[in-house]
């Protein structure tokens, strides 16, 4: 879709640059937010195409379309593209667009750094995706980059490592900008406990990013020096240990899970009160629960590696710590349900997607608790059960949250209402197909089908075919989203400033679309105009 058309009906008094320079040198949080979102959408389709290669190959046992090496590249790069290219940039894009207008700030605190953190992304993904044309192929050792396997990669290894470095730098700068903005640029009266929950979840996400991304950067730097500079961090011959990599990686990896999910939690915490026409139930407990989840996420990493041969006490510690995260998560789920309780609910597309998150994230949450039980994990480890688990969390959990946010704020961004019928069609086709796609994977995993394998035993054929049909249906359903967005950008029924009858907060006091520069004089915030 075209970026330029999104803002073509701006108010005349708005001073804004024109042409390609507007985007290349942009320091405007709305433009940068838009670029992040468009980039995420493109990556979503690139990563999705890779997933469809996987599902096509797995439609039948035996090798059909691709060779095993390429299949492994597909699983590896699909994950990297979706995590670092689609979900994280979408979250940062929403933060860029919404946080300044939610807290009454004129822009982000460091607009130039904001520009830089966005433009690093296309650069990093060019590095990563160019590896498909290299000797030895694209990364194929899994997105977790475990040595010694990853060190056997051909010319792609340094490209993979530098891409991860750049992605880390980009997200750390984005996170610093968000915290600096919220801490210093709130409008008078916008106290911390009046912040919309989306802003709160992003503050906490940003802290998680700053604390965990540098650790990942360190881990891949060690890989780089092991491969090219003779160090032996993970090389047993030199006195190192490959298991050490897994510890460092997952010290980043588990908080990363919450980096992905917390913004979506924030989004649905805005949407559910709006369409229930009630304030959010338990605002303060939501804030504390989010902080508790983030804090606990640093003490559970080894649940990804129960099978490496840990001492029993270690396994027990990580098992109990993991399960304890279910408590604050449960607080959030019950708060959302209590918000809907006896509310005057309506079911517009954003609300449908939010309720979808509630139901299907919970499915992923429960299988997560199952995997957290050490003896059970020994059976499920590296099977399709874990694939089912994290895809339930990531797709109808996190990505649905992003969809919900896009539908919720699209009229605010464009000034036009989107096509509600198409939105609902997108929701229902996605929801049916996503369950057809991922639910059978639970059965496959329980029956013992290993993940990351291009071929399988014939007994797994039926459920794989069901999953593949669901996969293609889900992929096609996403074209509806593109259609809705393009249609909405081009025109439609004019949106009011408030857009939704039950919407409260500063962003709804601005015109739809908001002026290029908003809140140049900060608004005064009171309990009545704040969220919560």
């Amino acid at each position: 879709m075209s970026e330029a058309v999104i803002h073509d009906d701006h108010h005349d008094h708005d001073h804004k640059p024109t042409g390609i320079g507007r985007w290349l040198f942009s320091t405007n949080h709305k433009d940068i937010g838009t670029m992040y979102m468009v980039f995420a959408l493109i990556m979503f389709f690139i990563g999705g195409a890779m997933a469809l290669v996987i599902r096509a190959e797995l439609f039948q046992p035996g090798l059909q379309y691709v060779d095993p090496q390429f299949f492994n590249s597909m699983t590896t790069v699909h994950a990297l593209v979706m995590i670092f290219g689609a979900v994280m940039p979408a979250g940062v894009g929403l933060a860029n667009w919404m946080i300044p207008i939610m807290i009454g700030a004129p822009d982000m605190a460091m607009p130039r750094m904001n520009n830089m953190s966005f433009w690093i992304l296309p650069f990093a993904f060019t590095l990563l995706l160019s590896t498909f044309f290299m000797q030895g192929g694209a990364p194929a050792g899994g997105w977790t980059m475990y040595p010694p396997l990853v060190l056997q990669l051909g010319d792609a290894l340094p490209f993979l490592i530098f891409a991860v470095h750049f992605l880390g730098v980009s997200s750390i700068m984005g996170a610093i900008n968000i915290i600096a903005t919220v801490f210093n640029m709130r409008a008078p009266g916008m106290t911390f406990m009046r912040l919309p929950l989306f802003v709160w979840t992003w503050i906490i996400t940003a802290f998680l990013l700053i604390a965990s991304m540098p650790v990942l950067a360190g881990a891949v730097t060690m890989l780089l020096t092991d491969a090219y500079f003779g160090t032996s961090f993970f090389n047993a011959a030199g006195g190192g240990d490959p298991v050490l990599f897994q510890h460092i990686f997952w010290f980043f990896g588990h908080p990363e899970v919450y980096i992905l999910v917390l913004p979506s939690f924030g989004i649905i915490s805005q949407i559910i009160p709006t369409f229930s026409r009630k304030p959010l139930f338990g605002y303060a407990s939501m804030v504390y629960a989010t902080a508790a989840i983030a804090f606990l996420s640093f003490f559970v990493w080894a649940h990804h590696m129960f099978t490496v041969g840990m001492p029993l006490t270690g396994e027990l510690f990580f098992m109990y710590a993991t399960m304890s995260i279910a408590v604050p998560t449960g607080v959030k789920i019950f708060n959302w349900m209590a918000t809907m309780w006896r509310g005057s609910m309506t079911f517009e597309t954003p609300m449908l997607f939010s309720i979808g998150v509630l139901f299907m994230f919970s499915i992923g949450g429960f299988t997560g608790v199952m995997m957290g039980i050490t003896p059970v994990d020994f059976q499920y480890h590296d099977t399709y059960f874990i694939v089912a688990h994290f895809h339930y969390v990531l797709v109808p959990g996190i990505i649905y949250g992003i969809f919900a946010g896009v539908y919720y704020w699209l009229p605010k961004w464009t000034g036009n209402m989107y096509d509600e019928k198409l939105g609902k069609l997108h929701f229902w086709t996605s929801t049916i197909s996503v369950n057809v796609l991922f639910f059978p994977m639970h059965f496959l995993g329980l029956a013992g089908m290993p993940r990351r394998i291009p071929d399988y035993n014939v007994q797994f054929t039926d459920w794989n075919q069901v999953a593949s049909v669901g996969g293609f249906a889900f992929g096609l359903s996403q074209l509806i989203l593109v259609w809705v967005v393009i249609k909405c950008v081009r025109g439609g029924e004019k949106a009011t400033d408030q857009v939704w009858e039950g919407a409260h907060g500063l962003e709804w006091t601005l015109s739809s679309p908001p002026p290029f520069h908003s809140f140049t004089t900060p608004p005064q915030v009171t309990d009545a105009t704040a969220h919560s």
């Binding site: 540098p214 060690m222 030199g238 240990d241 010290f251 001492p311 006490t313």
Partner: protein, 191 residues
């Protein structure tokens, strides 16, 4: 407002850099942790005099198995003289290992030890081991290397068997010079 924001950002940058350092700090922390809980082959080393002073539990026998491996890149053969040995907890036992350089160049090798089950490794102490240092074998040289060890008398009764495993690796050229400072396993076993 903007000045405050810049200060916040500076603080956060320092925090990010500190976390990068923390990633590296996990490397020595990991070794210390493994040694404390006795996993990952980080078995204890004690001096011969402390080993002799310890009590010997003659009421029971523990079987110690010996497992030897050579990394595929290393042209050596490496065997223990026997596959297993029965010892009384507390008694000093010895096992001879033989390495043979089958190539026509001198090679520096390093053995990485490991003890299974992990619960047993806390009670397995060596007083002498070829794994404490690097081993140089001239072309065709055959070398006998003794290991002296003591199974602690405190070993829980339920453990009746344990395995001592070694894997020999070639030490990369770049690392040979300052062995003592670079070889983390050796450092840990000495402390």
């Amino acid at each position: 407002m903007v000045k405050d924001a810049v200060n916040t950002a500076k603080l956060l940058f320092v925090f990010a850099i500190a976390m990068f350092g923390f990633g590296y700090a996990l490397v020595p922390l990991y070794d210390v942790f493994c040694e404390v809980v006795g996993i990952n082959g980080k078995t204890g080393q004690i001096s011969e005099s402390t080993a002799i002073a310890g009590e010997i539990d003659t009421n029971r026998l523990v079987t110690v198995e010996f497992d030897t491996n050579v990394n595929t890149a290393l042209p050596w053969s490496f065997k223990a003289e026997q596959y297993k040995k029965q010892v009384h907890p507390g008694e000093i036992a010895e096992m001879m290992f033989v390495a043979h350089n089958t190539s026509d160049r001198a090679i520096v090798g390093r053995a990485v030890p490991s003890v299974a089950p992990a619960q047993a490794s806390l009670f397995f102490n060596k007083t002498e081991c070829f794994c404490f240092t690097e081993q140089v074998l001239e072309p065709g040289e055959r070398k006998e290397m003794p290991v002296k060890f003591v199974v602690d008398a405190e070993l829980p009764d339920k453990i009746t068997m344990m395995t001592l495993s070694y894997t020999f690796f070639e030490v990369p050229e770049a690392e040979r010079v300052e062995t003592a400072s670079k070889n983390r396993i050796i450092d840990n076993n000495k402390s």
